[in-house]
């Protein structure tokens, strides 16, 4: 049966090539028969990818241990839902999943876009046929597979990778629309058509990044919700440029130019999705989240250069399009939007620079370096503040007089300072957050109320709350404590009562757990539990950290070890983290409202 998978990929590849060449020929010489056959080939190519995906899923679920991919990522007693998610656990499968989404999109969009989508599909199919075939067979079947890495047996694995890949694949549509628009003699205004796709892609990528952060946050040793790791940066880059694009599209829609910027940003966003795959899979940069070394790096680079070259060629060849419809009237709103877009571009440049710097440095000097988190924090924090200020102050500036705005700013800063906020970064951030929320309320009450505005307000409110949560990290506390049963520990305003260890058996495993009673003043906040799990035939116990999440702060407990009566605990107090997740839910709601009725956008 798996031979059918390989054959499907082959025929899909040939069909995609036929569709590309056929449509290109029809563009020059009108030939209805050829055009129809190209359409059929394009459709067939997409359907064959669906068939190949179905075959791989079937192999994973049925435990076909002839396939090396199935052997590598599943085993007989793996839960069915992890067998399903094993589809994107490996390089080949995750590329096929991207291709699957691209093919589903192809079935939904008009044939005009198929030329570009087929080109992308052909590139991926080339990789899946010659470089990393998902259907490669072993000479003899194994009795069982090696299984999915136990760290990947997590709900994060079910949600995070497909969302990222969905976002990447959806960005292909705005790119295809822009390219097709540039090849037309009449300007079709691709931005309006692309907006729902762009918003959908942005929603998926945002959710993918945030769920990845949530997953990493709960795992010991993964660096928390964000660690400026190259692989994390790789997914942030297209997000940044796409966010800038959403803003420039709004400017363009209101007749203030930016057509050139839109084209630049949509191409950059698409290219960055491929670049992200390149960074993640080529093994070119050292990353905590490193994927295995793979030979696909040069091919992905070639793909980037191919699409970049064509985009630049079209941009230069059709640059007149960029001056059409642009009145270049700069309103206050346009100025704020432009500022936001420019700052987002600047942040993406810094992140891009930091991500590829080790590679450039190695090429030039032969030495390997690592860029620390502090580089990104130092270089981007001022830019994030400008962005936050632009977002927070615009509603105030547009609805209040200059004097009232100034009074509001000074009032908030003084109030927060009097409330005890001393850290200058926190003072600035909390001021902007307060002003931002205040501005959104004013704008909502005074300004026009429609679905579009409401959605945008919720998105901005979500981002502001995420900024609040991230700012809390300046107050992070960590303590390593040695305790005996009956001891009280005090960290900041929290007290912890340690009653001892509780060993118990569960199936084949031995658990040693502890549960602390957490108090704040006289009020009980609840209990927090952590444990070590000892596995048979595996010398290192695994740790399950305890998290007590509250809006004021998250408390993390790690049971580090013990000897005789002494128990070692690590307690982390992470203020305001819950606001990041709360902000993200509000943000999702905002985008869903924006997407609900695209005609209003």
């Amino acid at each position: 049966m798996t031979w059918l998978g390989t054959v499907s990929l082959w025929i899909s590849f040939l069909s995609a090539l036929y569709a590309i060449l056929g449509a290109a020929y029809c563009h020059r010489a009108k030939n209805d028969w050829l055009l129809q056959s190209a359409k059929m080939a394009s459709l067939g190519s997409a359907l064959l990818v669906l068939l190949a995906s179905g075959i791989l899923w079937h192999a994973l679920l049925s435990g076909n241990f002839w396939l090396s991919y199935v052997v590598d990522y599943t085993q007989r007693d793996l839960a069915w839902y992890y067998k399903l998610t094993a589809f994107w656990a490996g390089q080949a499968g995750s590329l096929l999943f991207w291709l699957l989404i691209l093919s589903l999109i192809s079935l939904r969009v008009s044939f005009g876009l198929h030329q570009v989508l087929n080109s992308i599909r052909a590139c991926f199919l080339f990789l899946l046929i010659w470089i990393i075939p998902p259907f490669s067979q072993l000479s003899v079947p194994l009795p069982d597979g090696f299984g999915l890495h136990s760290m990947l047996q997590n709900i994060g694995m079910i949600i995070h990778p497909p969302l990222i890949l969905l976002g990447y694949a959806l960005f292909s549509v705005p790119f295809a629309l822009a390219i097709v628009s540039m090849t037309q003699t009449v300007n079709i205004g691709w931005e309006h058509l692309a907006r729902p796709w762009l918003l959908g892609a942005w929603l998926a990528l945002t959710a993918g990044i945030i769920t990845g952060g949530q997953w990493a946050y709960t795992e010991l040793g993964w660096g928390g919700y964000w660690a400026w790791d190259p692989v994390e940066n790789a997914s942030l880059l297209p997000w940044l440029t796409a966010t800038a694009l959403l803003h420039t599209c709004v400017i363009e829609r209101h007749g203030s130019g930016m057509k050139g910027w839109n084209y630049l940003l949509v191409c950059t966003t698409f290219l960055l999705t491929v670049f992200s795959t390149f960074i993640t899979r080529s093994g070119i940069v050292d990353s905590v989240h490193a994927f295995g070394q793979s030979p696909i790096g040069p091919y992905l680079l070639a793909m980037i250069l191919l699409f970049m070259g064509y985009s630049i060629y079209l941009g230069i060849h059709r640059q007149k399009v960029f001056t059409i419809d642009g009145t270049n009237v700069t309103t206050t709103r346009a100025a704020f939007l432009k500022t936001s877009a420019l700052v987002l571009c600047a942040i993406s440049l810094v992140v891009f620079f930091g991500t590829i710097m080790p590679v450039l440095f190695q090429v030039v000097t032969g030495r390997t370096i690592s860029i620390q988190e502090s580089f990104y924090n130092t270089a981007t924090i001022p830019l994030w503040f400008v962005l936050l200020a632009s977002m927070s102050l615009f509603p105030l500036v547009s609805k209040l007089s200059g004097r009232s705005t100034l009074v509001a700013i000074v009032g908030v800063v003084i109030a927060l300072r009097l409330a005890g906020v001393e850290h200058y970064i926190a003072l600035l951030a909390f001021s902007l957050v307060t002003l931002g929320v205040f501005g959104i309320i004013i704008d909502y009450r005074v300004g026009t109320r429609n679905r579009n505005r409401c959605g945008a307000h919720l998105v901005h409110l979500g981002i502001i709350l995420i900024a609040l949560g991230i700012t809390g990290s300046v107050y992070n506390q960590e303590a390593l404590v040695f305790v005996q049963p009956g001891d009280f520990i005090e960290i900041e305003q929290y007290q912890f009562e340690f009653t001892g260890l509780n060993p118990y058996r569960s199936g084949m495993h031995t658990h040693v757990g502890t549960s602390l009673h957490v108090l704040q003043g006289n009020s009980s906040l609840g209990r927090i539990s952590a444990e070590k799990i000892f596995h048979p035939n595996y010398p290192q116990p695994t740790s399950r950290i305890g998290i007590l999440s509250r809006l004021r702060a998250d408390i993390h407990l790690t049971l580090t070890g013990w000897e005789q009566d002494i128990t070692y605990l690590q307690i982390n107090v992470k203020p305001l983290v819950a606001w990041i997740w709360l902000g993200s839910y509000i943000l999702y709601l905002g985008i869903i409202i924006l997407l609900w009725k695209p005609s209003l956008l």
């Binding site: 390089q91 793979s294 580089f375 010398p539 580090t560 000897e563």
Partner: protein, 131 residues
Amino acid sequence: MKTQNKLIMISCAGMLLCTTLLFYVLQTTTTYYYTIDEVMAGGIKRQQEMRVKGHLDPTSIAFDPMGPTLTFTLTDGANQLTAIYDRPAPEHFMHADEVIIEGILLPAGYFEVRKLMLQCASRYESQEGGT
């Protein structure tokens, strides 16, 4: 035209300033990777923060499940570097192949690990042979 020239000059000055600042920040936030060979050969300043990548020798792991300290050896095939880490070990440390350690070299020749990263978090790729 004059305004345009001014704008170009201001933009160039701004870009130059930003680039200079960026390189300044970069200088203070860059950690050099050293091979185990270089670390063992000496010549590295004491207390200098560095990153070392190597293969974990699974037989070298002195892991007391009751205590917080972990001792292990990284190897590049020819040389070995003993490292000490006094925090909870990351999950599945013993199954790691490549390990990145960040920290300082102690006078006794041990490496004090301040940050321990495993390449085995390779979320989407099994190691050779599939583990």
